[in-house]
């Protein structure tokens, strides 16, 4: 609470000294619990949920079938070729890793910075992180030629007495992504524990009571529990924070450490992190807008939350735009003919459509968020967020494919054309992502019940019991 007050002076002093409430409606502790737990406890989810999970489940099955086909046949079922030995596999990997950034950023960094508006979106955003990491982690595992030996990437003791090659950025990747996945999962799960206990206590069937109870780890809500919970949460937040920055930095090393013109640039780590936060927030907006409508959480996930995220999108989008300009400047200023060509080729070569579409989506589209009506309008913000998602996918395509198709020797230049297997595998990862998300919405509390209660006006020590909350909720 205090952090908010320090950062943001109250605009309308006449109303109260503290800023407007983060939740809307006539909310008290009980209503928040009812509202959030009610989603899970409904005997049947809304019809839209069934429709959505049918589509996403089908796509997931498509994904699994195509992965099986890939393993049985070979990487050649994709469009990868020489010189584009990496294609959509790595594009999609980086895309999903980027998406996976928002959750932990919201949970950890905003937590440490005392940005309390994060409370009602952090749970869903963290879940998205995990599911995006699932999709991202799938690609490096299946894109290798001999999938059955992919475990050689890990430093497991073996009869060959072989370590992996610690000089290879791909190995750093393995560590970075797996650490990130582990810490994100822990962080998410730990935050869930009090809410799981709430669900356990409200459960009406023995099975639910058992399952929620099992995962609630015997939470009783004692002061000692709360004390340890909050300490541990803080520690994990502190641990996760550098990971948010490191994981995409390391992913960017895959490119920056190589000598492919267009990859070999030192700007990549910050540029990738900014891009990842950018795409992650865009994905959260894309998903939370329909989800809050669908599950009746409009009063907990308010337009103000969305607006804040849009501000982050605007900021990171501008950072990404700056990075694009810097790349060109350095390509010219550095005087390396191959690098200069690589960037000219992006903008003017055979894939220039991808480049300019990317610039429109990533640099131009977020600028509309300067307008409050766009920032707070549900449809405009979803439109921009989707454009950003498209743009960030294109950015990875531009970096991976355009650079590879025209490197040093003109005689080995080539073209990349995706196959249908590429397209449907990518669609399948969306299926997996949404299936997991829909299951999450159905069976776990989408909003952190316990945390939201702390930002209710009722929880404020200076608030007159009930009255202040009501007043500010209507403000």
């Amino acid at each position: 609470m205090a952090g908010d007050a320090h950062g943001n002076a109250p605009a309308t002093a006449s109303r109260s000294w503290f800023r407007p409430s983060l939740v809307e409606g006539d909310q008290d502790f009980a209503s928040v619990t009812r509202r959030v737990a009610g989603v899970v406890e409904r005997p049947k989810p809304p019809r839209a949920w069934y429709i959505a999970i049918t589509i996403s489940g089908t796509l997931t099955l498509v994904l699994f079938s195509l992965v099986a086909y890939l393993i049985a046949t070979g990487v050649g079922v994709w469009g990868n070729n020489a010189p584009a030995f990496w294609g959509w596999d790595i594009v999609n990997f980086v895309f999903w890793v980027g998406i996976a950034h928002a959750g932990t950023l919201i949970s950890a960094i905003l937590f440490l910075l005392r940005q309390h508006w994060r409370t009602s979106i952090n749970r869903a955003a963290e879940a998205m992180t995990l599911f995006a990491v699932c999709c991202a982690g799938l690609y490096p595992a299946i894109h290798v030629g001999r999938i059955w030996l992919a475990y050689w990437l890990f430093p497991v003791p073996n009869q060959m007495s072989m370590w992996p090659n610690f000089r290879s950025p791909l190995l750093w990747d393995v560590f970075a992504v797996s650490t990130y996945a582990t810490v994100s999962a822990l962080f998410w799960y730990m935050g869930l524990v009090p809410d799981l206990a709430t669900l356990r206590d409200r459960a009406v069937t023995p099975l639910k009571r058992f399952l929620y109870g099992f995962f609630a780890l015997g939470w009783r809500g004692s002061s000692r529990h709360w004390h340890r919970f909050e300490r541990a949460y803080l520690i994990l937040a502190a641990l996760a924070t550098p990971l948010v920055l490191s994981v995409h930095s390391v992913v960017s090393f895959d490119f920056a450490v190589s000598l492919v013109p267009g990859w070999h640039t030192t700007i990549f780590p910050p540029y990738f992190v900014a891009g990842a936060i950018f795409s992650g927030f865009a994905m959260v907006v894309t998903i939370m807008v329909p989800a809050r409508q669908l599950f009746g959480l409009k009063e907990l996930v308010t337009v103000r939350h969305l607006e804040n995220m849009n501000k982050v999108i605007l900021a990171t989008g501008s950072l990404v735009g700056l990075a694009y300009l810097t790349e060109f400047f350095i390509a010219w200023y550095g005087g390396n003919a191959y690098e200069r060509f690589a960037f000219l080729n992006r903008a003017l070569g055979p894939y220039s459509w991808a480049y300019w579409l990317m610039v429109f989506c990533n640099v131009v589209a977020p600028q509309f968020f300067w307008f409050k009506r766009v920032r707070t309008g549900l449809l405009p913000m979803v439109a921009v967020a989707i454009l950003v998602n498209v743009g960030m996918w294109l950015e990875r395509f531009v970096i991976v494919v355009i650079s590879l198709t025209r490197d040093y020797l003109p005689t080995s230049w080539g073209h990349f054309t995706p196959t249908l297997v590429d397209v449907f595998t990518f669609a399948g990862t969306f299926g997996l992502f949404f299936t997991l998300f829909l299951l999450f919405c159905r069976f776990l509390p989408m909003v952190a019940i316990a945390e939201v209660k702390t930002v209710l006006p009722a929880a404020h020590p200076h608030a007159p019991q009930g009255a202040a909350g009501k007043e500010h909720a209507h403000a």
Binding site: P83, W86, R146, N165, S168, L259, A337, F341
Partner: protein
């Protein structure tokens, strides 16, 4: 009547209507027989190697000399490597005076044919549209009786249609045939004959003479639509001599002028190149001869004289052509006795005659070219004899036709309907390696033995008699041509005896063994003869030849044998099909070559389907734009569009699409080399061309980037500028000093390295096939090539440089550069590619998991990935024969792993072991990778960089040596030696 009267044909599989009881009887007998004589090594006693035969070391390879007739007078003298009794690799015979250890791509690929699953494995009788398998046991007595009957008729009704052969054995048998069957016909047909050249000699000297080039004695070489280093029976020897004379370090350097209708290897190697239609060569050579005579006669200046027989005007008046003619004429006159003018095989006899006369006037004859008698019987009109045979067959005069090799149903002129004529003959027997078009049109097909399975002989271009010896008993029951002709004659001698009697009748056993060992009869080359030029009429050049024309109906069509498939015989050879054409980089198919201007005139882009009309026939085929092609001239290569080549080259009847377009359908009896009435129209649609390393870039930015960097990657200079700047500093990229973070340790021992002389490389592709055979490189097929997934470990990049009309063609072989600071090694997460102590960039296949990061990080893109299991076809049951081709020293790579050039590490190890066993150090030149071994011009040199005296060290230290992309601090172990051109002095320089 014969026992195999078609009245009682068996069921096709010979088994389907058996009762169970009968089946048991048959099988019982078969099992008994199988134990008694169930192997193909008939007539040989099989004994266990309780005592090792002399000279045989288990697990080591043995090498045997042999030879191969590649058609068109080209004889490859071979040294064939055999492992455990199976031939696995063909190399050139180092003792042979012409080949000297080199072998062409086609010769080397022939080993794949030996194990071709489409290679016929049994006899087939065709009766009323159904095929019946037969055996030699059934065939032999029946055939003998049939021949006996023919003999009593004096051979009337019997005809033999054979491919021409230089074999003395066959010539001897042919003589006996003529005696035994006096009334029989013996007709020879080959689609690509040396008719024009011999006709030229007849005109010039009054008799057929063979011209042997002595490029080593020349200072100026003029190629008129000719490709002496590519398409020539002695191309390997010519290329070797050519490369030696192109050494810029030597005192004098050969200068080459090429005038040609479509780019060839010789044109690419030339210092001055001019694209003219093939029909324009005649006026050009007339004008040149006239001018040379004028200069020699004293008129040292002045324009081309319009008087006399010299044509003038038209294209000859174009400044570019006129200037070239003038400076060329001056140079020829100046370098009398040191120049050499060569005309190409598709130029008419008259042009060849004028060239002979010009060479004589210049005093070249006897110095830069040598004449010998023509040992082959080259017909003046090859199609006429075939036409006469077809007429006789149509008239029912032929009752028995024996087709000895060749594939006339496919490659006969389109106006001869041989297929229909064959239906008129009651009995037609085809001896061939596969069930090709001709086999399917004949009543009998007999499987023909591969050259590595039988005895034979051939005469190489210089006349040296080469022996062909079997390295393996026929894998199936296959017989050679000699054996079949002997069977027709009822001869009792074996092929071995026949060959020995014909090739070396007066030699004792030891001498004969030496002949077989060497692969040829020493000292049997033809003897040079002197001949005087006779006078002959030269008709005036036609007006149309002088004009530039891209008008429809007046275009020129050139039909040439293909550099890979030749006349179509290589169509079922997957190595050849997947070999990129040197000039167009096209695999798996041919396309009509258009110049950029001609293509623009018709709205053609690469792959456009066009309808070609010529000689009253038409063909729809793909077009390809070839910079440096002559405007108004369209070249299409023969050998494609096979209707029954096999599973590789096409078998439309069984659902295998045929590869490429059949140019023979445009060929008439009187128009074998092309036509002058070609009309082109768009046929609608496109045909995707499978091209490999094509630097063509359609967009402006790509062209800009290409031009910006190519001078650094592919360095070249003129002789004059190189002498002024021997280090070629002007071409070197500027970069900061290259430093390392670490102290570099140079381990003791060898430091393997390679040097490639761009001045010597002719782009002949021999190294690509050599590598494929040595390293078990898989073939991936057309679709995979189009996806950029070809697997060749060494590739030859082809560049068209310079503006339109003045294109220079450049080749650059590229393989793994074995960088000392290899970017691929650093990024592999599982350490599957590492450095050896001797500096090899090793690839550990069974460690590789296939992240492909190494290939992304390779600046040369020489790494190849197994996107699929490319060996699936040979892993299945029943492919045991196909698997015999593999080199056991090289791992077969699995799906999902990366592979690349190893500098032939297996050869390095073999040489090291040999040296160690002998207790001595390795000598320079002992380790020869497959590419370097076969290079006809020795452009690729391999060796130890730690030894400053080694050839490779000296080449690397040469001023014109450079390492590609060395500015990336990758420290490549492969050096390139810049190409030095030798154009005429600046004031008269033009044409590139």
């Amino acid at each position: 009547m014969s026992p195999l009267s078609p009245n009682e044909p068996r069921s096709p599989d010979g088994m389907s209507d058996l009762s169970r009881r009968r089946f048991m009887q048959v099988m019982g007998a078969s099992f008994a027989l199988a134990t008694a004589s169930g192997c193909r090594w008939e007539g040989e006693e099989i004994l266990p190697f309780a005592q090792r035969p002399t000279g045989r070391v288990p697990g080591t390879t043995r090498r045997f000399a042999s030879a191969l007739d590649l058609g068109g007078g080209t004889i490859a003298s071979l040294l064939v490597t055999s492992y455990d009794g199976r031939p696995i690799k063909i190399e050139g015979n180092p003792l042979h005076p012409l080949d000297a250890g080199a072998a062409s791509a086609r010769a080397q690929a022939a080993i794949l044919d030996l194990y071709d699953p489409d290679h016929s494995s049994g006899l087939v009788q065709r009766h009323e549209g159904a095929d019946y398998p037969r055996t030699w046991k059934e065939f032999d007595p029946w055939f003998a009786a049939r021949m006996e009957a023919a003999r009593t008729r004096g051979g009337a009704g019997l005809a033999v249609l054979a491919a021409p052969s230089s074999s003395r054995t066959r010539a001897a048998l042919q003589k006996r045939f003529a005696a035994a069957f006096p009334a029989a016909r013996w007709v020879e047909w080959t689609p690509v004959a040396r008719t024009n050249e011999v006709e030229g000699a007849r005109l010039a000297y009054g008799r057929p003479l063979r011209t042997h080039l002595r490029i080593e004695n020349a200072r100026t070489l003029v190629c008129l639509d000719a490709d002496p280093i590519g398409e020539h029976p002695a191309a390997l020897a010519n290329a070797r001599a050519f490369a030696r004379r192109r050494n810029p370090e030597a005192e004098t350097m050969l200068r080459t002028w090429a005038v040609e209708s479509t780019p060839t290897l010789s044109g690419a190697a030339a210092d001055h190149r001019l694209a003219l239609r093939a029909e324009q060569i005649q006026p050009l050579i007339q004008a040149l001869e006239h001018r040379v005579k004028g200069i020699l006669g004293g008129s040292s200046s002045g324009p081309l004289s319009p008087t006399g027989t010299s044509p003038a005007g038209g294209f000859l008046a174009e400044p570019r052509v006129a200037q070239l003619l003038e400076s060329l004429a001056r140079e020829l006159a100046e370098r009398r006795g040191e120049s050499l003018v060569v005309a190409g095989p598709r130029q008419p006899g008259l042009v060849h005659a004028i060239v002979q006369r010009l060479n004589a006037v210049l005093g070249n004859t006897g110095r830069t070219l040598v004449l010998t008698e023509e040992p082959d019987d080259v017909p003046r009109d090859p199609a006429a004899a075939l036409g006469e045979l077809v007429r006789a067959m149509d008239a029912g005069e032929v009752t028995e036709l024996v087709v000895l090799g060749g594939n006339p149903v496919y490659d006969a002129p389109a106006d001869l309907d041989l297929r229909r004529a064959l239906r008129k003959a009651p009995l037609s027997i085809h001896l061939g390696t596969t069930r090709d078009e001709t086999a399917r049109a004949c009543t009998w097909h007999l499987p023909r033995a591969h050259e590595l399975e039988c005895f034979g002989d051939a005469r190489s271009w210089d006349g040296t008699l080469c022996t062909i010896q079997p390295l393996i008993a026929p894998i199936y029951e296959r017989r050679s041509e000699i054996e079949l002709v002997a069977a027709m004659l009822g001869a009792k001698e074996t092929a071995r005896e026949l060959v020995r009697a014909a090739v070396a009748p007066d030699i004792d056993d030891a001498g004969w063994n030496k002949v077989l060992h060497d692969g040829f009869v020493a000292g049997s080359a033809l003897v040079p003869v002197d001949a005087a030029i006779m006078s002959f009429d030269v008709p005036a050049a036609t007006a149309r030849a002088l004009e530039a024309s891209v008008a429809n109906g007046r275009l020129e069509l050139v039909l040439a044998p293909d550099s890979k498939l030749y006349d179509g015989r290589g169509a079922n050879n997957a190595w050849l099909q997947e070999l990129p054409d040197a000039l167009t980089q096209t695999t798996w198919g041919n396309a009509a070559r258009f110049s950029p201007a001609t293509a623009r005139a018709f709205g053609i882009v690469d792959g456009t389907l066009v309808r070609l009309r010529a000689n009253g026939r038409e063909l729809v085929c793909a077009a390809i734009i070839v910079p440096g092609n002559a405007d108004g001239s369209v070249t299409l290569h023969l050998g494609y569009g096979r209707a029954a080549a096999g599973l590789v080259g096409g078998l439309p009847g069984e659902g295998v699409e045929s590869v490429g377009f059949d140019a023979y359908r445009l060929r008439g009896m009187n128009a074998l080399d092309g036509a002058l009435d070609l009309a082109v129209e768009l046929a609608g649609g496109t045909h995707a061309l499978a091209r490999t390393t094509d630097p063509h870039v359609d967009d402006e930015i790509g062209k800009h980037g290409y031009e910006e960097r190519i001078g650094e990657l592919l360095r070249e200079a003129t002789l004059a500028s190189w002498r002024a700047d021997p280090e070629l500093e002007a071409h070197a990229p500027h970069h900061p000093p290259l430093e390392s973070l670490w102290e570099r340790e140079e381990p003791a021992g060898a430091r393997w390295g390679m040097a490639i002389d761009l001045n010597s490389c002719t782009g002949c592709n021999a190294c690509v096939v050599a590598c494929q055979a040595e390293n078990n490189v898989p073939v991936v097929g057309r679709e995979q090539v189009m996806r950029g997934r070809e697997m060749h470990w060494i590739r030859i990049d082809r560049h068209f440089l310079g503006e339109e009309g003045l294109e220079r063609v450049r080749f650059q072989p590229i393989t793994c550069q074995h960088c000392e600071s290899a970017p691929c090694e650093q990024v592999c997460p599982v350490a599957a590619t590492v450095h050896s102590a001797e500096g090899l960039n090793d690839m550990i296949y069974n460690r590789c998991i296939g992240t492909r990061y190494c290939a992304n990080n390779c600046p040369f893109k020489v790494r190849r990935f197994n996107f699929f299991n490319y060996h699936k076809a040979v892993e299945r049951q029943g492919a045991e024969v196909q698997r015999m081709i593999f080199n056991p020293e090289v791992t077969i790579r699995a799906r999902g792993v990366m592979e690349k050039c190893t500098f032939c590490v297996q050869r390095i190890q073999a040489a090291k072991i040999q040296a160690k066993n002998a207790g001595r150090a390795l000598k320079d030149g002992e380790v020869v990778p497959a590419c370097a071994q076969t290079c006809p011009t020795s452009a690729i040199v391999f060796g130890d960089l730690a030894d400053p005296a080694s050839r490779v060290s000296r080449m690397r230290a040469a001023p014109r040596a450079y390492e590609m992309l060395a500015e990336l601090n990758i420290r490549p172990r492969t050096s390139y030696l810049a190409r030095i051109t030798n154009p005429a002095a600046e004031e008269s320089a033009h044409g590139g």
